[in-house]
Point group: C2
Chain length 289, copies 2
């Protein structure tokens, strides 16, 4: 079975595992394992790897509307090099400084390739789950989509500095906190917008009518040659870590004033079916390696 099937099966055994983070007794906890071969393309600096590993978990905490408290990482590499570890830790600490939470170390280990498991715990007084979307609400996304897709293309072109910058995304912790208690349903777009929408639809037993244009990163506009490529990068590629949420129409204006990141309405919650401009939106996207 692939990871997704296994996760679904696992969710049956562990009911708390079906959301971006588990919520127990007012605490949200999430853990993510990353590998060099699947998550850090050639050219990714150790600083970026540390940032991104912890940021991915911070994004899960943000997607619950929770406040990060502490982050830890277990770090394994073929040979442990202090300079590399130190750069990794600097990146991990930097993203915590930017959005909240304290990086408090972790575990070190030998392994065949760089393998990092990051875990973040936060306080979740008003957790937002995937299951609360209601027909009539607006569907929104923070920031822009396609950032990681563009970064990968830049890594391939050897433009590693710009690629590393794009890879060091800002987890939407502040937005998640503001949306807590106001969004009906929320998750992050780490598997791609299309897959996220299908997951929200399944959890909330609803549908989504999405309308283009989607808010796409300027680097995508620059890199993609065709509208088809732009759509692919924006809707399917994933690893973007924006928040996808549903909010009452009447709350939109006020939320936009409060948020320091853009909140784009991309459609509305309907009874069933996930469509883009009236056509079925396929349930495909990034399957985490």
């Amino acid at each position: 079975m692939d990871e997704r099937e296994a996760l679904r099966a696992l969710a049956g055994t562990v009911p708390e595992a079906g959301d971006d983070a588990a919520v127990v007794d007012g605490l949200a906890v999430t853990t993510d394992m990353l590998h060099r071969s699947t998550d850090f393309p050639a050219g990714t600096t150790q600083y970026t790897a540390g940032w991104r590993a912890v940021a991915a978990s911070l994004s899960d905490i943000a997607a619950m509307g929770a406040d990060p408290v502490a982050a830890v990482a277990a770090y394994a590499e073929t040979s442990l090099d202090w300079g590399e570890i130190e750069a990794f830790v600097r990146g991990a600490k930097a993203v915590c400084t930017e959005v909240g939470g304290e990086y408090v170390g972790g575990d070190l280990d030998d392994h065949e390739e760089l393998t990092v498991t990051s875990t973040v715990v936060g306080r979740a007084d008003r957790p937002v789950f995937r299951s609360g979307a209601t027909p009539g609400e607006a569907v929104c996304v923070t920031g822009t989509l396609g950032r990681s897709a563009a970064a990968l293309e830049l890594f391939e072109r050897g433009e590693t500095e710009r690629a590393n910058e794009l890879f060091r995304f800002t987890p939407r912790v502040e937005a998640g906190r503001t949306l807590a208690g106001r969004a009906g349903a929320m998750m992050d777009s780490s598997d791609g917008l299309a897959r996220s929408l299908h997951q929200l639809a399944e959890a909330s037993d609803c549908g989504f009518a999405i309308e283009s244009p989607l808010p796409v990163d300027t680097t995508v506009e620059e890199i993609a040659d065709t509208a088809e490529q732009r759509r692919e990068m924006g809707a399917f590629f994933g690893e973007d870590f924006e928040l996808v949420c549903t909010v009452p129409e009447e709350a939109l204006e006020r939320l936009r004033e409060e948020l320091s990141v853009g909140l784009t309405k991309i459609g509305r919650v309907v009874e069933s079916g996930v469509t883009l401009d009236g056509e079925p939106l396929p349930d495909r996207g990034y399957t985490h390696g």
Copy 2:
């Protein structure tokens, strides 16, 4: 550099990383990465692996005198098999049911070999650190030592059922909770008694005068052929996950009445030097692979 050197260096960057678990804002967090090749000998069942992986982190939480709230595990294997994952999860949940905390799932991934990162978060209202030992206090250890050393020998002999049972240790969460606010210093014996004592001595700037006999597991008595082997298994092998702590002499009797696990006085805190029966106790033990 080896893991220990790197950890020490890391502790300089991340001051919270020098104890069994980091404590931030009333929460204790710990993470541990385990691999089949170094941590799960041939014959270890998936149920035992799940139990032991989460138990190792629960032990770190216990060593802070904290209350476990939630446990997560990131699980990677060459190919994901639902039966194996299910058995792993059952083991992970079982140990949480036994000592407290809720197992709430985690992440699944492909990897070259079974690699598990378990993380536990707990509430730490009265955390006990490694640094609080005071000369004159009694040095104590919970339960018995040498259990994992004996298990490894049994795995080698093909007595896998008994070996698995020994491997599924009970983290001393209840004892840790009882010792919180009363022990001067505490840590678990995962690196072996000798190394634990040296780490406590360094953190507390003190010494320990230890007297034999050490409380050794009955299986060690059965398996070890010589007194030298018993000593090796009890004092140095490690991976036992008992609590090593210092407590005021006058508190000992009361603590023993309250605890459901044995608490053996093995010596006393002195100004400097770590000795066993008057001879220097070498600072060696298990270096986690």
